[in-house]
Amino acid sequence: MHFFQDPQFGNRIITLMAAFVLVLQIAMVGQRWLVTNIRVFAAQSFLLAGIANTIAYFNHAPHLYIAAFLTFTLKAVALPIVLERLVKRIDIGQEIAPLVNVPLSLLISGGLTTVGYVVAASFHRPEETMSAANLSVANLGHNTLAVAVSLFLIGFYMMITRRKAIMQVLALLSLENGLFLAAISLTYGMPLIVELGIFFDLLVAVMVLGILVYRIQETFDSMDVSKLSRLRG
């Protein structure tokens, strides 16, 4: 069972999972169905928890385990259930019509990924950390930063193109995922209390947005956000 201790293996696993997370994100951009999107988000959060565990395992950073556990319970399980129940209760049309057609969105997500890599590459060089010589445990998983930045940018872009309120909330959450990935990849997570604070805020934010989405549905009897444009000037 020696390979469990080998950092090289750890690094491979983390990069693989990060790649999957990015693929899921782009899938969310391309995806038209609401419920499927929620499940894709859940999968993404699950993978994130996995990355956090592996880094925690290799770096013996106990507080990261707690962060991973929280991500798993909150974002992989609780939120998707809440959102799906909300979608069922409002039983809005599953199908959503994005502002920009899907192929163009995918193209733009590709562009944003390159921007993410340019930004990530500017301040820390993943290739020297990758070379076997100085592959120390400390800088494990640095190449996931590029994924984190592109996750952030694509999440932001998704918020702009989506019409449905719930989809905007999902986009915001995927954006938060990007941030969490950046945190664990750069500094093995923020100090514990800050992590707890961030998670608490996330929870409250989702509850608040949920209530607001419900109120929008009630007053505008549609989830379409572009109807919200009476305040001008």
């Binding site: 930004v119 932001f156 702009i160 193109t161 956000v225 444009s229």
Partner: protein, 681 residues
């Protein structure tokens, strides 16, 4: 604070402040508020007259600093000769207007507003004194805008009327734009000299050169020009002054526009070191244009107060001719001529303040008695308001620059300065002086025409309306207020030579030369000369004396040749028509008809005649005539700019069009741009 100068000066300020608060508190009891407000203003004015008189004669340079509890602000007061001179003008007017407003404010329809009017009146006097005596830029700007604020509140005092509100907003907007220019100018000087104090600006004036000097000159000219009402920046003046209550429009026309002149004098003569030639030429040019266009537009007015407001623009033009000539002489290196021109400008500032205030108070009494300002409805008031008519006539003679009153003396000095200017340089610019002189003569003659119209149509012959018929003479205090100013006109006219030493302190400080010695000649110093021994001279006192002596001649002729015939009072010859009525009289519109024909190119007069008839067009039952002249500055300069700005603003409002996607897109694009910008270096 210790010297008598300090006591009187700060005593005056205190009196204004107490007057403001007292009249506000006693707002409910109208009479008490009126008496307190005007009483304290009068006391303050008298104290200020004393303090500035002392400062002027002793040409002291008293300086007081009070550190305010507000960061970076020190209430610095300085009574150097220039500030003392303008403070003297202010306090003289304050005394006269306060006496006048005792009677004028009595029957205000709304009792409770007399207190508020007194409050703002005293505050404006306080801020005006602060503007003239402030010694650092920060305090000056605060006093400057406080003056604009109180003036705005006074202009829009009768804010029920739409035109008053519009006039007030136009005034405050243009004055604030002017303050913006001043702010930039002062900050430029501050960044050059390091401190905000005026003395430091003056000290570092030597190294103010090149583009910084050009910027400073243009900024201060624009900033102070707006307040002084120089032609392109004047459009607020004919709207704002008539809208204010009469004693306030007297204060505004008399002294508030003089703050612009004070500012120009302070900056151009003290902070600029040696001014470039184009600066003096620019000011001279604007002065001539303002004078000529001011009087030309005044001629076309039938509203008494608008006519007087346009005349303020004309007289500001004359003052600027004096200042412009003086600046050019400084550049050309003739300090003596510069001193004459400066004395001419400053003396005309005092004269204009006095007779314009007198005329506005006169117009106020007419408005007070007849409730109308339209000259076409007045007439025959000389019988019903004899004192007001006499005082208004004195003012009219003074403003038209006719001997022996004060207007003539300052215009005579301006002519002498321009005359000296021709010989003082070889450059082509010397042709500018005599041309300016001839245009000044045209302006003075047109002013005389305008005031013949104003006085003749308003006061002489038959009343043209019922209000004019039932007019009655105004109260004693109003006549007394005007009387003080008329007496000043005569005193300054006849005793001009005794008043000249007052300018020595100023010319010594600004130009380093004392001129009163060689400007005054003759036995009891009654003859005013133009500086050079064989140059021209004039003696208003002599002229007045000769008037008295020569009046014996017609008496003798009548005795020697004629006999004591009796005189009868008969109706005027009416070409056989059944008796003359008010309709036969000449109207103000008709009086200015010849000039409208001659200057048609400027006025672009537009007339419209509609005749209604029932049988045939040759037998009209009613004819309606309407004519108006074009106001080029409003229509061609300000209105298009305003329309353009509002059009751009309406189009730019599109960025807040309600769609959340657009809002997020703005942030997203900014993020991408900044990330790439942050990464590249």
């Amino acid at each position: 604070m210790s010297s008598p100068l300090g006591y009187t000066f700060f005593g005056g300020l205190l009196a204004y402040a107490v007057g403001a608060i007292a009249s506000l508190i006693s707002g409910r009891i109208a009479n008490l508020a009126r008496i307190l407000g005007c009483g304290f203003a009068l006391a303050g004015g008298l104290l200020e007259v004393v303090s500035s008189g002392i400062a002027l004669l002793a040409s002291a340079d008293a300086h007081w600093e009070i550190h305010a509890a507000v960061p970076f602000l020190t209430y610095g007061f300085r009574l150097d000769p220039l500030s003392a001179y303008f403070n003297l003008i202010l306090s003289l007017l304050a005394v006269a207007i306060s006496v006048y407003s005792f009677g004028y404010l009595r029957p205000t329809e709304e009792k409770r507003t007399a207190g508020v009017l007194g409050f703002f009146y005293n505050l404006s006097l306080l801020s005006l004194t602060a503007v003239f005596t402030a010694s650092n830029a920060f305090f000056f700007l605060i006093a400057w805008e406080a003056m604009a604020l109180t003036a705005y509140c006074l202009i829009t005092f009768e804010h029920r009327k739409e035109i008053t509100r519009q006039a007030g907003v136009l005034f405050f907007v243009m004055s604030h734009a002017g303050t913006g220019c001043l702010l930039i100018g002062f900050l430029l000087l501050n960044s050059l000299s390091g401190s905000l104090d005026f003395s430091s600006f003056a000290a570092s004036s030597a190294n103010l050169t090149g583009s910084m000097q050009v910027a400073v000159i243009l900024l201060f000219f624009a900033g102070f020009g707006v307040k002084a009402g120089i032609i392109p920046l004047h459009i607020w003046l004919p709207e704002a002054h008539p809208a204010a209550p009469s004693h306030i429009s007297a204060l505004m026309s008399g002294i508030v526009i003089k703050t612009g002149i004070y500012g120009l004098a302070r900056v151009m003569f003290e902070f600029l070191g040696v001014p470039p030639l184009w600066a003096g030429t620019m000011i001279l040019g604007f002065g001539v244009v303002s004078a000529l266009l001011g009087v030309l537009y005044a001629l076309m007015e039938h509203d008494l107060k608008r006519l007087l407001a346009y005349h303020s623009i004309e007289n500001i033009g004359i003052i600027l001719i004096g200042f412009g000539a003086s600046l050019m002489f400084i550049t050309l290196g003739h300090p003596r001529f510069a001193a004459i021109a400066l004395i001419a400008g400053l003396f005309h500032t005092l004269n204009h303040a006095v007779f314009k205030c007198l005329l506005f108070l006169g117009a106020g009494s007419v408005l007070h008695a007849t409730h109308t300002r339209n000259m076409e409805k007045l007439g025959g008031l000389i019988r019903r308001m004899p004192q007001t008519a006499l005082l208004f006539l004195i003012g009219a003679i003074a403003i038209s620059g006719l001997p022996p009153l004060n207007g003539f003396v300052s215009e005579w000095l301006t002519y002498q300065a321009l005359l000296a200017g021709f010989g003082s340089t070889e450059k082509l610019t010397r042709i500018l002086f005599p041309v300016a002189g001839s245009l000044l003569a045209l302006t003075a003659a047109l002013a005389a025409t305008c005031f013949v119209k104003a006085f003749g149509i308003t006061f002489l012959a038959l009343p043209r309306s019922k209000e004019a018929e039932t007019a009655h003479e105004c109260g004693f205090s109003m006549v007394a207020g005007m009387g003080i100013l008329a007496a000043l006109c005569v005193a300054l006219g006849l005793g001009a030579t005794w008043f000249l030493p007052a300018f020595d302190g100023i010319t010594q400080r600004l130009l380093g030369v004392r001129m009163s010695g060689d400007l005054v000649a003759g036995a009891r110093g009654l003859i005013l000369t133009a500086g050079s021994p064989r140059g021209g001279s004039v003696s208003t006192a002599g002229i007045a004396a000769m008037f008295v002596i020569l009046s014996a001649v017609p008496g003798m002729l009548w005795l020697f040749w004629g006999r004591k015939g009796n005189r009868e009072i008969r109706p005027t010859w009416d070409c056989g028509l059944p008796g003359l009525t008010a309709e036969n009289e000449y109207t103000a519109f008709a009086f200015s008809k010849p000039l409208r024909m001659i200057f048609a190119a400027l006025y672009q007069p537009r007339r419209e005649i509609q005749a209604e008839y029932d049988v045939s067009p040759y037998y009209p039952t009613a004819i309606r005539f309407d004519s108006e002249i074009e106001s080029p500055f409003e229509d061609r300069l300000y209105a298009p700019v305003q329309r353009l700005v509002l059009k751009i603003a309406t189009r730019m409002r599109g960025i807040q069009a309600g769609s959340i996607h657009a809002y997020l897109a703005y942030i997203f694009v900014t993020l991408i741009i900044l990330l790439l910008f942050g990464v590249r270096s």
